[in-house]
């Protein structure tokens, strides 16, 4: 009776855990993803996993059998054998054959991943500490679209001061928009340290290495939002540079790209505009938070010993030329990058204006985009 009850309970608990595992499979296993490649990678993963499990069951089965049956307390007396050439040859050759069986599909998938076919869209991906820049290459440089993609999760959520949203740490201000059913080529590099661009649903993970341009490609089948993260340790905010891919139909993508091109041409004309101090301060604050605050901190105080503070610093309170030089050319051999090529003239003007007037640095100075252009041409 008791054993009957036990087995019923046992069966129920097994069923329950299977259904739980099935529901929550995505938490426990690799995603099959949304591309042909990601599916063959998933299949490969499952094949090897199953082979390993089968081998484990056999080997550990023999071992546990010995542990149960050949124990001294069971009266087992040790036998004398300690070698057998035939057996040893067999258990060298069989694993070798299994390995060949694994290597064949792996080689095929790898060759597909490395295949070079013409692609319709090419995106340059550049890793920065700690954000991604995407640039849609075009034969006409006027029509190139380029933007930074930053994590948009609120610092308060990270500091446990407000509830965490559904896509905590996996959301960005501007996702990478890609067309479905189109072969997209990625050219991947980095500006400072090594990063790694990884979106599990695409099965693309490629290191972004300064000085080297890596190539990868994808062809997405299904529209949707796909999230990933930087996979190579790249400094303190390594855990806070997510990737979001927004896959849309080719028509929607073309429309989006055209709108972006319009917008970036409008942005380019901003340096001719006459700016007021308040406008520059407002824009500067946004630029500062995106590009500078990770090191110099929101309060401008930096991190003792690692990153200098700007509040009351010699650069922020001294001559404007030195400040321009610092931001535009950076400091070689340190984490301070040369922002001259990264930021627009307007952004540089705004951020310098901000830094010279925020946190009680009240110099009253105003630096305009024209000042930046003059400084650059004067160099």
């Amino acid at each position: 009776m008791l054993s009957n009850k036990f087995w019923r309970l046992f069966a129920v608990s097994i069923l329950w855990s299977i259904s739980y595992l099935a529901q929550a499979e995505w938490i426990f296993n690799m995603t099959p993803g949304v591309t042909e490649i990601s599916r063959s990678v998933y299949d490969l993963h499952m094949i090897i996993l199953i082979i390993c499990i089968v081998i484990a069951v056999i080997v550990f089965g023999v071992m546990f059998y010995a542990m149960l049956k050949h124990r001294k307390s069971q009266g087992a007396v040790a036998e004398n054998f300690h070698e057998n050439t035939m057996v040893e040859i067999i258990w060298t050759i069989i694993p070798f054959i299994i390995l060949i069986g694994m290597a064949i599909p792996a080689t095929k998938t790898l060759a597909e991943i490395y295949s070079k076919e013409p692609s319709d869209v090419t995106v340059e991906i550049v890793g920065y500490q700690w954000k991604w820049r995407y640039r849609y290459l075009d034969d006409d440089p006027e029509k190139e679209v380029s933007f930074f993609s930053n994590m948009s999760t609120d610092q308060k959520e990270i500091d446990n001061q407000s509830p965490k949203s559904e896509f905590y740490l996996l959301e960005v201000d501007e996702p990478l928009v890609l067309p479905t059913n189109t072969r997209v080529r990625f050219l991947i590099t980095a500006n400072d340290v090594i990063h790694s661009w990884w979106v599990p649903d695409l099965a693309v993970k490629k290191d972004a290495i300064p000085g080297i341009i890596n190539e990868a490609w994808t062809k997405i089948d299904i529209e949707g939002l796909y999230r990933g993260q930087c996979a190579e340790l790249c400094g303190q905010a390594h855990g806070f540079m997510p990737i979001v891919v927004d896959a849309r139909s080719p028509e929607n993508f073309q429309q989006w790209l055209a709108d972006k091109q319009q917008a970036s041409m409008a942005e380019a004309s901003l340096s001719d505009k006459t700016w007021t101090q308040a406008e520059l301060m407002a824009k500067g604050e946004t630029v500062y938070q995106t590009f500078c605050a990770a090191c110099h901190q929101i309060n401008g105080e930096g991190i003792q010993g690692a990153f200098p503070g700007l509040k009351g610093s010699k650069i922020a309170l001294g001559p404007v030329e030195n400040h321009l030089d610092m931001v535009i050319d950076g400091v070689t051999g340190t984490a301070m990058q040369a922002f001259g090529a990264q930021l627009s003239d307007t952004d540089i003007a705004a951020v310098i204006t901000y830094e010279r007037n925020a946190w009680g640095n009240d110099t009253g100075d105003m630096v305009t985009p024209q000042n930046v252009i003059e400084f650059k041409t004067g160099q």
Binding site: H45, I48, C52, H82, Y114, E215, G239, G305
Partner: protein, 524 residues
């Protein structure tokens, strides 16, 4: 003359601190290495618990990301160079001369030096935690340019301490090779050597081959940082990928340096408690040699995502998969040794059996990682973290604990408390699996390694993993207690406390006299 020599032989160790400072006795130096390694194991363990405590829940609770990175870096460096490697060197110091029937190591003064520079290296490394800009924060693999251009100033101290550790390892390796080659008792032929001696001999050659490479790579970093060289700086014509090639040419043999001696230990313990000779002794020696050779031609499997060409990926994928063959042979041999034996389950045997099972699980995930296309999904995720912790913790660390329980009666003359030993084993066994098994799932689900905070879908498994880590950490206090208790007293150990044990160490009294085999033993 004769009386003088006899007088010399009968004297025991010097008294006080100078005994340990000036000692050239292999047993004393072995003891020093083992205590040092245990201290580092606890220090590295505390760092690990800081990491797991921060990862207990999503959000930042205890530490800032910058400090978190220092913890991951210091945990890795201290465990690899401070805990696992010195523990094996300590075991080698204690046991190798006895196993080959020698009175001491071949180069006793160098032996003293190779130990005594280590505390300075680690004191210096640990002191970086208190420096301006903090400790090294670039991971134990210290990839350039994060470790050069973008490193905190303390990187220079890190480089110096790595140099000292390397010098210590090279001296230790030379000493072991010299001892095994020159000091074997008459009749101790190559194929009579215990496997622990064989695996350490091969490990020593690996050390001599790759430690200079590590010294080279950190020196190149030093040049980049202080002398304006550009080995790893793309802007100066160098390449960050060069760093990874040189590092992993050291790094892959290094991981075998941490596992080959473990194979030797387990190959001594399993036959003892199965009361049956080791199955396939000769194939064990060849398998160890093959693994050592293969370790030199697989390094770029750590770099599948850096963009090496297809031919390179295929070469490193195939060569890596090949490692499964000799490793499989070893596992089959251990199982065949147990098969039809007469098995008992004392603490050393429990740790050894757990070693075989859990190390093999680590081997399976290693095989999965070898498959390059799948590696694109596994690389730099918690799947990798789970993999190498399975081969290092229930692999290398369990083998060290097995060895300590196995030889502790010989070293101290007292039997350890079997009940406490088993208690320690079961706590550790449960702790290690609860910690690291869920990390496979977290990795497959897509959580990158070395992040201080994570997305919400990883929360449950991270909590489980952290709970396991605290259990595992706490259970090591039991280990410390067992060791201290055994040193202080207990049931007296006979010369050969284990019924099925073989080897010269069991012909000696327990505890071993300060000087042993001053006249070589007879080998049948």
């Amino acid at each position: 003359m004769t009386t003088a020599i006899q007088g010399h032989e009968s004297h025991g160790p010097a008294k006080g601190l100078t005994r340990w400072l000036y000692t050239t006795n292999h047993k004393d130096i072995g003891t020093l290495y083992l205590w040092f390694s245990l201290a580092m194991f606890f220090l590295g363990g505390i760092f690990a618990l800081v990491i797991r405590a921060e990862l207990f829940q999503p959000g930042l609770q205890l530490v800032q990301p910058e400090f978190f990175n220092q913890m991951t870096t210091m945990h890795g460096l201290i465990m690899v160079f401070g805990a696992v490697m010195p523990a094996f060197v300590g075991l080698a110091n204690w046991m190798l001369p006895i196993m080959v029937g020698a009175p001491d190591m071949a180069l006793p003064r160098m032996n003293n030096l190779s130990f005594w520079i280590l505390p300075f290296a680690f004191a210096m490394l640990t002191s970086t935690l208190f420096m301006d800009g903090g400790a090294p924060n670039f991971g134990w693999t210290f990839y350039a340019p994060l470790s050069t251009t973008y490193a905190p100033p303390s990187v220079t101290f890190f480089i110096f301490s790595v140099h000292i550790m390397g010098a210590s390892s090279i001296m230790g390796a030379i000493n072991i090779i010299a001892t095994i080659f020159n000091m074997r008792a008459p009749g101790m032929t190559w194929l009579k050597l215990p496997l622990f001696v064989w695996t350490w001999l091969i490990t020593s050659f690996l050390l001599i081959a790759v430690m200079p490479v590590l010294a080279g790579v950190v020196t190149m970093m030093l040049m980049d940082i202080h002398f304006g060289a550009s080995f790893f700086n793309a802007a100066g014509g160098g390449s960050p990928v060069l760093f990874q090639h040189v590092f992993w040419f050291f790094g892959h043999p290094e991981v075998y340096i941490m596992i080959l001696p473990a194979f030797g230990i387990v190959s001594a313990i399993i036959p003892t408690f199965s009361r049956k000779k080791l199955f396939g002794y000769v194939s064990m020696v060849y398998a160890t040699g093959s693994i050592a050779f293969l370790s030199f031609i697989v390094w770029a499997h750590h770099m599948f995502t850096v963009g090496i060409p297809l031919a390179g990926e295929l070469f490193f994928m195939y060569s890596t998969m090949l490692i499964a063959v000799p490793t499989g042979v070893k596992v089959f041999n251990w199982v065949a040794t147990m098969f039809r034996g007469s098995i008992t389950f004392e603490t050393p045997m429990l740790f050894s059996i757990a070693f075989v099972v859990l190390f093999t699980i680590g081997g399976f995930s290693g095989l999965m990682l070898a498959v390059a296309p799948a590696d694109f999904q596994y690389h730099d995720t918690y799947f990798v973290v789970a993999h190498f912790h399975y081969v290092l913790v229930p692999g290398a660390v369990f083998s060290i604990m097995a060895a300590v329980y196995y030889w502790l009666p010989k070293w101290t003359g007292n039997m350890y408390d079997e009940k406490l030993g088993k208690f320690h084993f079961w706590l550790s066994f449960i702790g290690v699996n609860v910690t690291f098994f869920p990390q496979h799932f977290i990795g497959l689900a897509g959580m990158p390694r070395r992040i201080p905070d994570y997305a919400l879908q990883f929360a449950d498994m991270n909590m489980v993993s952290s709970l396991g880590a605290f259990l595992f950490g706490a259970s090591q206090l039991v280990f410390l207690w067992v060791v201290i208790k055994t040193i202080r007293g207990g049931e007296k150990a006979p010369n050969k406390p284990w019924e099925g044990a073989e080897g010269l160490e069991w012909t000696l009294p327990s505890p071993t006299p300060y000087h042993t085999f001053s006249t070589p033993p007879k080998i049948d």
